[in-house]
Amino acid sequence: MATSAVARDVVFALRRKIAKIEGTLAERLAPPSDGQSSAGQPVAGLLVRRNGLASARDFFLPTGVERLDEILGGGLPKAALTEIHGTETRNAGAAAGLTLCLVSHMLRERSRPQDLVLWVGTAEIFREAGFPHAPGLDRLFGLAPGQLLFAEAPKPADALWIAEEAARIDELAAVIVELRGNPRELDLTATRRLHRRAQDAGRPVFLLRHSAVPEPTAAPVRLVAAPAPAVLRRTVLGPLAGSIGPPAFAVEIGKSRTALPGSFILEWNPDARTLEPRRDAVPENRVAVVPPSRGRTHPQAAAGAVLAFRNAAEPAAGDQPPGEQHPAHRRARRAG
């Protein structure tokens, strides 16, 4: 205990500066304000100080799926670049759907009408995968047409420029950049620039990529989204045979800070605006037949007790990853 408080402050300040230059985990270096050491719990007990607000909750965006949050180390980093990959261009619906699920889930908590979402894409991707259709987004994700902005850029470099400029605009709650393939302009430097902008602004930037080969990226999290067959529609009389229920996604974690592997089948609940893990066997008596009302802050609790129901097969599938799926750049960065 030789170092004085002042010296420690200096060290912290320097570390922060270095971390800022390097673009590494600056938030982990912040000392906890209550004086307790956070060394034992690298993630959960962290305190983040950003613009005077100190809270771990502000930093992470919990996806609502327990196991996924655990693997991501608390949730998706809110002030960061997040890559979401679609395996093929025809899976654009699923990849865009997952991105919008995350955006919608984030906006659900602080729903201000002036929060806008900017969707930047190249003319190519809007032609190949379809232009965003506002009525569908409104219905499924609760994003009103007045909340959406689209930007169509002629080339990938232009789309990246728009995204970079947009990332610092306060009115935009989230920026989605959509690109196809592996354009030359989208290298490590470009992702780092986007990431830095997102960090500075404290708002997420989602990089949506279709049919792209995973490359080194500055984004702390990469999710690979693929479509999954939807469950049947739930009705009063039980599942309706032959129907197509709410959207489902097969999500695989391509990169995360904890480097834990995982693959999930997630379902989007359009009414509660939450992501839920797929439960294979749905107990008939436990399902909330009437969905919680949308747009209210305190929906009435469903009748009956909610039981913890964990699919035993699910974690087992994710625990042992195939070895070749982890090149060096997918590994988590060393903290500090």
């Binding site: 965003p132 259709h133 850029a153």
Partner: protein, 485 residues
Amino acid sequence: MTSHRENNTQRIAALDARAEALGLRRGMGIAEARAMHPGIDVAEADPEADRKLLEGLADWCDRYTPLVALDGADGLFLDVTGCAHLFGGEKALLNDLMMRFFHQGFDVRAGLASTPGAAWAAARYATGHILAPGSERTFLARLPLSALRIDARTKTSLESVGLRTVGSIMDGPRAPLVRRFGAVLIERLDQALGRLEEAISPRLPVAPLSVERHLADPLSLIDDVERLVGLLAATLKVDLERREEGARALELLLFRVDGMVSRITVGTSRPIREPALVRRLFHERLAALGETIDAGYGFDLVRLSALSTALFDARQGDLAGAGSEEGEGLAILVDRVGARFGESAVLEPVPAASHVPERAVSVMPRARSETRKAAASGTGTGKARPAAERPIRLFRVPEPIEVPATEVPDGPPLNFRWRRAMHRVARAEGPERIAPEWWREGGADAPTRDYYRIEDADGRRYWLYRQGLYSAQAVPRWFMHGVFA
């Protein structure tokens, strides 16, 4: 020498000094001229190119005054009222203009007078002459009738009765002249003498405000141009502040030393007057234009004009100075992106009252949103949540797909081929029948569409439709219209 076709013969349209020295004249037949001098070089006249050149010159003349009008196929009118002192007087202006044209390789004749008619005559019969106000009468009196801008037929008939100079009709009785030769003659005379007001109509609308800088040393670096735009915008800001306005559209004119003029326009989504902002907008525009702007030997005159202005609602910033930018970030971004990629680069969806999916929402440029909202404030479109499931992405043009088989004629497909890949349908919901809008033109005959929500074996969800119904005559076509999440 150039020729043109007139009354079914090739005639000389224009000729140079050497050809003139050989005794050739305008209007002479080409065959005749060839017979006299077999070695002459004849090119076909190109009035379109001449016109373009004249317009280019008119652009260049913008440096002297914003009021430049084309006069016929070979003349320009410049209204230099209130501009002459900027160039050191009328004499200096005329000398400067003629000198610059001469160095560009043009043979110009110019005259300056208080009325357009007198100036026209001065340019043609006494080039370089400046008529003092009130001296038109004595000047015109000596000139032939063609100095009055009258057509050849009137001139010939006047000459046939012995009236050969302007002076001879100037003091004659007016009524018989009008009766015999038409009102145009007297009108032209009155205009030339200043008895009748004649306004020239400029080719381009005159900007309400503009600031410019003449440069002794031409600029050739785009960075320097940008810096100068910032300085000009600072001057413009003072003028805009005095008018309590902001600019909605700005134009930058770059006059190249050799006479080429580049016009660069940017629009803004809200009135602006901050020099830094103006500079940034032009930075984007210049970056987008890139190589298209060729500085050549440099620009010697840079002008910044506010093409359209609007009331600027000034807001007070807070004491720290941070609040002044509040809420403007997005508008600035929209303007900057618009300056680079065009106004339709940033779009916003506007719901419309239509049940046809592609018309249910229209994407409009964000830059126009304020004017659109002002226009639609009364109607108040009700925010209705769509009742049926709609895809999250819609193809702009529905893509045709091949459907080999359906279970029942009017049922969903069993499988389909889209973009060369076969998709096996696992589940289908529908149909949702969407009829065309019969009240639109051509809508009544259009076939109905039966939409199906399809999930294929891999879990991808699509929105397909069958156009029309099965009948004995035709097999309906299938289209892919959108994808679900």
